[in-house]
């Protein structure tokens, strides 16, 4: 178990999330894929904090950054769910290819 293993898992998870964001139709599934990408970033940060030649303060910063990422992810998720509910109420659909009012 070394740093490269963590980085490869993070890269794979990020790519999977990227595929989900690009290929899925449902806004809820796109939201889930974004969560996957955020978690890939967290794996990377934690891996670096544990394995690199860092001082204690730098290791603590790695974990603090992960706490902030989780916080922002939670806030983003709450807002996105609110927007999806609003969208469903107005358009009776959450498929992103049917929401094209601003397309020209």
């Amino acid at each position: 178990m070394e740093l490269a293993h963590f980085q490869l898992v993070a890269a794979a998870l990020f790519s999977i999330g990227l595929y989900g964001v690009l290929a899925r139709k449902s806004a809820v599934l796109i939201l889930m894929s974004i969560e996957l990408m955020l978690n890939a970033v967290n794996i990377n940060l934690i891996g670096y904090a544990a394995f690199m030649d860092f001082t204690v303060d730098q290791r603590a910063l790695g974990q603090v950054l992960v706490i902030f990422v989780i916080t922002i992810a939670a806030a983003e998720l709450a807002l996105a769910v609110a927007i999806i509910l609003r969208l469903y109420r107005n358009r009776s659909s959450v498929n992103v290819d049917e929401i094209d009012t601003m397309k020209w």
Partner: protein, 165 residues
Amino acid sequence: MATPSLILFFAAAALTIGGGLGVVMTRNIVYAAFALLTSLMGVAGLFLLAYAEFLALVQVLIYGGAVIILILFSLMLTRIQDFDRLTDNNQWPLAIIVAITVFGIISAAIISDNPQIGDRQGISLEMLGNSLFTEWAIPFEIASLVLLVALIGAILLVRTKGGKD
């Protein structure tokens, strides 16, 4: 060399990646939500293996407790009639190419990189709390403000006049 930690690491990595693949491949959106839960618990296992015990607990509580519940609620409030008929949009071959290219570039960078590996160690919860509440106290307060604004914004977005629906 199959040390116990390496075996545990591969188990957690398999959970993480398998769950992620489940999210993007399944046709049933409820299965996708549970695959996301599997993946996030795998990430918690990876955190444990990288000496971040507190964050592993936070991951289980926030994602397992709050995020999955919120996503399941949003599923139940939208489109319950076609849960199991998900389709991808027609640019999915392009999406596969983009994802594989990104993975290839990142993994090439990882393999060719030669980082300064130090001794493997974690930090105590006391150190983490000390750092969070002294050096990073102002960003911490701003994060709490962001959460408050997001909460108010979410309420405002879903509120309807007259209290019906």
